[in-house]
């Protein structure tokens, strides 16, 4: 069973087609790097998959359910452009609230483990408004990963992270992959994305122009992707 199955999906903003005829399937344990220029439709596709943005044509199944079903949402970890944490709550309160919201029963030990994992244990009880951008992003990662979802939808997860935090995110993604979780991540950090991706998808003007398994050649020389883009006539 495909974890994500999109069939001929169209999404319009007014008359403007933000997604055109997108058909895509991902098997359990896959990690799809969603690449494309700004405005290609990466964020829109992730928002549609997360059930945050209605689509007009086609069909989408997430984990065998409809895209807005409670079951699909329970098993999905979504990290959007906005990091989705409250400035006036502490790091611990944010994790506790979103853990409950996701239906996970996280005790204090589990919360402390996550806070330590994302290197926020010493500021666990400080309000998020005092955090740097990188600290907020790490907290957002803990929020997304703490309930151990089966599907991750990550929009630019590497943003604002320093080298150590990028390594930490790589570990989190690796562990999630090891337990069979599926991931779709949009990014401009091609090197980091290719290191963990099993598939590569290229979006251009709302169209899925390329979808294939990631090859070793792509990892060794990310310019391979630029060549593919040129061959497809993507400017």
């Amino acid at each position: 069973m495909a974890v994500i199955a999109l069939d001929d999906v169209w999404k319009f903003f007014g008359n403007f087609p933000a997604l055109k005829q997108v058909t895509l399937g991902l098997e359990p344990g896959s990690c799809c790097a969603l690449l494309g220029r700004n405005g290609a439709g990466k964020t829109t596709l992730l928002r549609v998959l997360a059930g945050l943005s209605p689509f007009q044509r086609g069909s989408i199944e997430v984990l065998g359910s409809k895209v807005r079903s409670a079951e699909a949402r329970r098993q999905t970890g979504f990290l959007g452009h906005g990091i989705g944490v409250y400035e006036d709550l502490t790091a611990r309160e944010n994790l506790r609230f979103f853990g409950r919201a996701a239906g996970a029963k996280l005790d204090e030990t589990a919360l402390n483990r996550w806070l330590k994992r994302v290197d926020l244990a010493r500021v666990a009880d400080s309000p998020v408004r005092q955090f740097s951008r990188g600290m907020r992003q790490r907290l957002a990662l803990a929020r997304t990963f703490q309930h151990e979802p089966q599907l991750f939808l990550l929009d630019e997860p590497f943003t604002s992270l320093d080298d150590r935090s990028i390594a930490m995110l790589g570990e989190l993604l690796g562990e999630a992959q090891a337990r069979g979780a599926t991931m779709v991540l949009s990014t401009h950090q091609i090197r980091e994305a290719l290191a963990i991706a099993s598939h590569v998808a290229l979006l251009d003007q709302g169209q899925l122009r390329y979808f294939a398994r990631r090859t070793d050649e792509m990892v060794e020389d990310p310019r391979t992707l630029y060549r593919i883009r040129e061959e497809l006539g993507i400017l």
Binding site: R73, V85, A101, R136
Partner: protein, 226 residues
């Protein structure tokens, strides 16, 4: 977790944030007291019937102060796109709206309690004579205001002029609720008997609450996704 416990989680989170920042509580409370104070100068509280006046004035003040609270309800979810995080979670949209309404309800009740106390001082009026009945009226009318405020707060959250649009949209809808609350509060503050005519307004409040709570639950998903 069921829908109600999700709503309770949202309300608790909102109240925790509000009691920490006191953004809307301070604004709404200060606004209510200033208006009551100004009107106490405008009217001759010695010759006019202060309790009769207070019934009308109080609910207009609560409606305006309420708008300050309702505006913050969903606006609080905009920084860092927290609304997306909530909508992507298994929390039902209806629980989100009802939870927001409950948080506003608690905050508005606090503002109302303070206002009633201030009203007693400014207008030299005894409001404690029929307190239990007054409390029931306040609870019914405040829930009506809060649920309408939450629904329209969700509708206007992405508008640039939401502070202006929210009151423009909700006040016409609130007319039956405010009329009922004014009639009942006036009768209770002036210690008049609750005749069937007056009690009819109590039913209006109940029907209003039931209708708008049901509509909020049914339409929440469509409102928040569009």
């Amino acid at each position: 977790m069921n829908g109600l416990s999700y709503a309770w989680a949202i309300a608790r989170k909102d109240l925790a944030v509000e009691f920490r920042t006191k953004e809307s509580l301070n604004a709404a409370g200060a606004f209510a007291i200033v208006i009551l104070l100004l009107f106490s100068f405008a009217f001759d509280t010695a010759s006019d019937e202060p309790a009769e006046l207070a019934g009308k004035l109080l609910w207009l003040v609560f409606a305006f102060a309420g708008a300050l609270i309702f505006n913050r309800g969903f606006a609080r979810e905009m920084p860092n796109e927290c609304l997306d995080a909530l909508m992507a979670s298994p929390i039902p949209a209806a629980s989100l709206v009802v939870g927001k309404a409950f948080a506003s309800f608690v905050l508005l009740l606090i503002v109302e309690a303070v206002s009633l106390f201030a009203c007693g001082i400014f207008y030299n009026m005894n409001w404690t004579r029929r307190l239990p009945a007054l409390f029931i009226v306040f609870v019914l009318a405040t829930w009506g205001l809060s649920i309408v405020g939450a629904v329209f707060g969700a509708l206007t959250v992405n508008l640039r002029l939401r502070e202006l649009m929210l009151p423009v949209l909700i006040y016409p809808l609130m007319i039956p609720l405010l009329t009922g609350a004014i009639e009942l509060t006036g009768a209770l503050l002036t210690n008049q008997p609750l005749t069937p005519d007056v009690l009819l307004w109590g039913r209006v409040l109940i029907v209003f609450d039931v209708v708008f709570t049901s509509l909020a639950i049914l339409l929440a998903e469509a409102i928040l996704l569009n």
